[in-house]
C-alpha cells in the first residue's frame, strides 16, 4: 500500500469513528457536554443534557428556538404584560428597526452557550438595545437629558419586559408610602374550598371527614410504624379524609391497581396540580420535567450544604412525606440545603424575627416572613372560575430581575419607593435586609417632580 492510500484509509476510518462517536453522544449518550458549544446560563444549566428541550428539531431554524423560548417563558411574559411583545415589532413600519435589532426573536438579545458575555441577570444582553428606539426620550422627559444610553434598565428604573411595578402611573399611585405599610397583606391560604377546584376528585371514596388511625387503608406494613401513622393523623390530609390509598395507589389504563411505595409528584398532582406545575417549571423540578431525573444540591451552581449534596429534590424533600409540615417547608427545608450568604444571614434578619414571633405565638398568624414568603409567595391565582390563594412553587417568577418581586412580595408589607431601593442594594440583599437601603433609585422622585409641574399652583404645583 502506498503512503497516499494509507493516509486515505486512515482519514476515512477516523472520520467514520468520529461520526459514530458524536452521533452516539447526541442521540444516545447521557453526557452531552462534549457537543455543547459553551457553558449554559444560570437558568438553563440544569437541563444542559437535554438538548432537545430547546433544539426540538434538528432541521429547524430560528423558529424552533423561538418556540422553545415561548413554550417555557411565554406564559410568564404574558402574565406580566410584556412591554415589548413580538406583536409590537411585526408591523412593516418597524422594518428599519428590525434591521438594527430583530426584537421579534428572543435570541437577538439573549444568546445561549455564551457564558463569557452573560450578564448579572443570567442572560446575555446588548447594552444599547433601548437606545435604538428611544434615543429621543429627553425631548419628552427633560429629566432624562444626559443619561447614559445603558442606564435605562441597569439603574433600576425600567425593565424591557416586566414594568408592572415600574410604570409611571403605578409609581405615582404609590408616592409617599411608608417604609413599612400599616396594613400588611400576608395572604392566608386557600380562600375557597379546595374541592371546588377538583372536579375529578373521587369524593365518594374519600368523603371530607376526619379520619382516625382505625380507618387507615394502607396495604403495606405501615400500621406498625407509629411515626408514619402519627404524622399522617395530624396532617390536613387525615383531617380532610385523604387516606393512604389516595396517594399510594395507582390505577393503570386497564384499571389494575398497584401500590406505590414512594409516590412522586405525579401522585401529588392529582390534587395539587398548580403547585406541581410551579415545581416542575422552577429550579427545583425543571430537571424532572426535562426527563433528566431529580436535581441534587451537589449539582447546583450556588453554594449548598455538603450534608444535603446527595438529596434528590421532589415534593417530599421539602414537605417530608406524611408530615407535610408547611412551616418546615417554609424555612428549615430551604436552609437545609442553601448555604449562600443571603440564606446564612436570614436568622439574623428582621424578617426572621417576625417569623420567630409567629411560630412562638407572639404575633398573629400569617405575619411572619419566611424564606417562602418571598421566594415562593402565596399569590392570588385564577383556577377555572375561581380566584384562590396558592403558593407559587416556581421561584423563577420572583427571582431575576428582582423587580419582579415588587408587586407580588415586597409591596405586601413595604412601600414601593423603599422596596425599589432595597432591591437595588446588593449588599443589603446579601445580608438579608439587615439595615436600611444605602442606594436610592430616582425614578419615583422624577415622577413626583413631574406631577408637581403638572399641577396648577393652587394645587401645590410649581
Amino acid at each position: 500500500m502506498t503512503n497516499k492510500k494509507a493516509i486515505w484509509v486512515f482519514w476515512s476510518v477516523t472520520t467514520v469513528l468520529l461520526l459514530v462517536y458524536y452521533f452516539y453522544i447526541i442521540l444516545i449518550g447521557n453526557d452531552k457536554k462534549e457537543v455543547s458549544p459553551g457553558e449554559m446560563i444560570h437558568g438553563h444549566y440544569q437541563i444542559e443534557m437535554s438538548c432537545s428541550s430547546c433544539h426540538s428539531d434538528a432541521f429547524g431554524g430560528g423558529e424552533v428556538l423561538q418556540s422553545a423560548c415561548v413554550n417555557c417563558h411565554g406564559e410568564e411574559l404574558k402574565a406580566a404584560d410584556d412591554s415589548h411583545p413580538k406583536s409590537k415589532f411585526t408591523n412593516p413600519r418597524n422594518a428599519s428597526r428590525i434591521k438594527e435589532l430583530d426584537a421579534r426573536a428572543c435570541v437577538s438579545c439573549h444568546s445561549e452557550h455564551k457564558n463569557k458575555i452573560t450578564g448579572e441577570m443570567g442572560v446575555t444582553l446588548p447594552e444599547d438595545f433601548c437606545f435604538k428606539c428611544h434615543q429621543d426620550v429627553a425631548e419628552d422627559r427633560p429629566s432624562h437629558k444626559g443619561m447614559a444610553f445603558n442606564t435605562c434598565a441597569n439603574a433600576g428604573c425600567h425593565n424591557y419586559h416586566d414594568n408592572s411595578a415600574l410604570y409611571e402611573d403605578f409609581l405615582e399611585k404609590h408616592l409617599n408610602e411608608n417604609k413599612l405599610l400599616d396594613s400588611l397583606e400576608n395572604k392566608s391560604k386557600a380562600t375557597v374550598d379546595k374541592l371546588t377546584l377538583l372536579s375529578q376528585y373521587p369524593i365518594d371514596r374519600y368523603p371530607v371527614k376526619k379520619l382516625t388511625l382505625k380507618e387507615i387503608d394502607s396495604h403495606s406494613g405501615v400500621f406498625n410504624d407509629n411515626r408514619v401513622t402519627h404524622e399522617w393523623e395530624t396532617t390536613s390530609h387525615a383531617a380532610a379524609g385523604v387516606n393512604c390509598s389516595a396517594c399510594h395507589e395507582e390505577k393503570s389504563s386497564d384499571n389494575k391497581i398497584t401500590w406505590i411505595e414512594k409516590p412522586d409528584e405525579k401522585s401529588c398532582k392529582g390534587c395539587h396540580s398548580e403547585e406541581v406545575k410551579g415545581f416542575l417549571d422552577g429550579k427545583h423540578g425543571m430537571k424532572i420535567k426535562a426527563g433528566l431525573g431529580a436535581m441534587k444540591p451537589s449539582e447546583a451552581r450556588q453554594p449548598m450544604r455538603i450534608t444535603s449534596h446527595d438529596k434528590e429534590l421532589s415534593c417530599v424533600s421539602c414537605h417530608s412525606s406524611h408530615k407535610f409540615d408547611v412551616q418546615h417547608a417554609s424555612v428549615e427545608a430551604c436552609l437545609g440545603c442553601h448555604n449562600d450568604t443571603h440564606s446564612q444571614s436570614y436568622k439574623q434578619s428582621a424578617h426572621f424575627n417576625t417569623w420567630h414571633k409567629e411560630l412562638n405565638g407572639q404575633a398573629e398568624k400569617n405575619t411572619g416572613v419566611s424564606c417562602a414568603s418571598c421566594h415562593m409567595p402565596r399569590q392570588l391565582k385564577r383556577v377555572g372560575e375561581h380566584e384562590v390563594v396558592l403558593v407559587e412553587h416556581n421561584q423563577n417568577l420572583n427571582l431575576r430581575p428582582n423587580e419582579k418581586m415588587l408587586r407580588g412580595v415586597c409591596m405586601n408589607c413595604h412601600g414601593l419607593a423603599f422596596s425599589i431601593d432595597a432591591l437595588a442594594d446588593e449588599k443589603l440583599i446579601e445580608n438579608n435586609f439587615k439595615g436600611m437601603p444605602s442606594v436610592h433609585i430616582e425614578s419615583i422622585d422624577m415622577v413626583e417632580d413631574r406631577l408637581k409641574k403638572r399641577k396648577k399652583p393652587e394645587e401645590g404645583g410649581l
Binding site: 411583545p85 411585526t90 408591523n91 412593516p92 422594518a95 428606539c133 429621543d136 419628552d140 402611573d169
Partner: protein, 192 residues
C-alpha cells in the same frame, strides 16, 4: 408495462398542455388594493365607533357603572378605544394576515405612534389638512413594497376629546368633537 408508461406519459403531457392553454386565456382577477383597504377600514371604523359610543360613552361616561383606563388590568376597568383597536391589530398580526394596520397621530399620547415613514408623515398631514379625504400611496419597507392607505380617525365622542386633551402626555390640548385626531394606516404588500 411499456405501453402503460407511454399511456401515462401521454395523458400527463396532454393535461399539462390543457392547463397551460387555460392559463394563457384567463385573466388574473382579484381585488384592487384600494378597494380592499377601503373595505377593511369601513369595518374597523364601524367597530371602533360602536365600542367608543356604546361601551365607553355609555357605561363609563354616561351611566358611570365602570371606569375606562389605560391600566385596565390594574384598575379592573374597560380598555380604552385606542387600546381595543391596537390589540385587534396585534391579534391580526399574530395570525399572520397578509395586511397590517395601526393607529397613528401627529399628536400621539405615546410617542412611538407618531409618523415614522415618509408616506406616514405625508399622509397624516394630508388627512389633517383635508378633512373628509383619505390618502393613498406606495412605499418600500424592508424588502417589500406596500400599498399604504391612510384614513382619518375622527373624535366621535366627548370621551375621546376629554381623554386626549387631559392626558399628561398629550402634545395637543384643544381637540374638539369631529376633529381629525389621527389616522388609521393600512398596508397591503404589492408586487413590483
Amino acid at each position: 408495462m411499456k405501453l402503460k408508461l407511454k399511456k401515462v406519459a401521454f395523458v400527463g403531457v396532454a393535461g399539462l398542455l390543457t392547463v397551460l392553454a387555460g392559463c394563457s386565456e384567463s385573466k388574473v382577477t382579484g381585488i384592487e388594493p384600494k378597494t380592499m383597504t377601503d373595505a377593511l377600514f369601513s369595518v374597523m371604523e364601524a367597530d371602533r365607533t360602536v365600542y367608543t359610543k356604546l361601551i365607553i360613552g355609555r357605561l363609563a361616561k354616561k351611566e358611570k357603572v365602570i371606569k375606562a383606563s389605560e391600566h385596565w388590568k390594574d384598575e379592573k376597568a374597560l380598555v380604552l378605544p385606542a387600546q381595543m383597536f391596537r390589540y385587534g391589530a396585534e391579534r391580526v398580526a399574530e395570525k399572520g394576515a397578509d395586511f397590517s394596520y395601526s393607529l397613528l397621530s401627529l399628536w400621539p399620547v405615546n410617542k412611538q405612534n407618531k409618523p415614522k415613514t415618509d408616506v406616514e408623515k405625508e399622509g397624516l398631514q394630508f388627512i389633517a389638512d383635508n378633512p373628509g379625504q383619505n390618502f393613498y400611496g406606495e412605499e418600500t419597507l424592508g424588502d417589500t413594497k406596500y400599498f399604504t392607505a391612510i384614513y382619518p380617525d375622527i373624535g366621535v365622542a366627548s370621551a375621546c376629546i376629554s381623554c386626549h386633551n387631559d392626558h399628561k402626555d398629550t402634545p395637543k390640548t384643544d381637540f374638539k368633537l369631529g376633529d381629525v385626531m389621527g389616522g388609521v394606516v393600512i398596508r397591503i404588500p404589492v408586487k413590483g
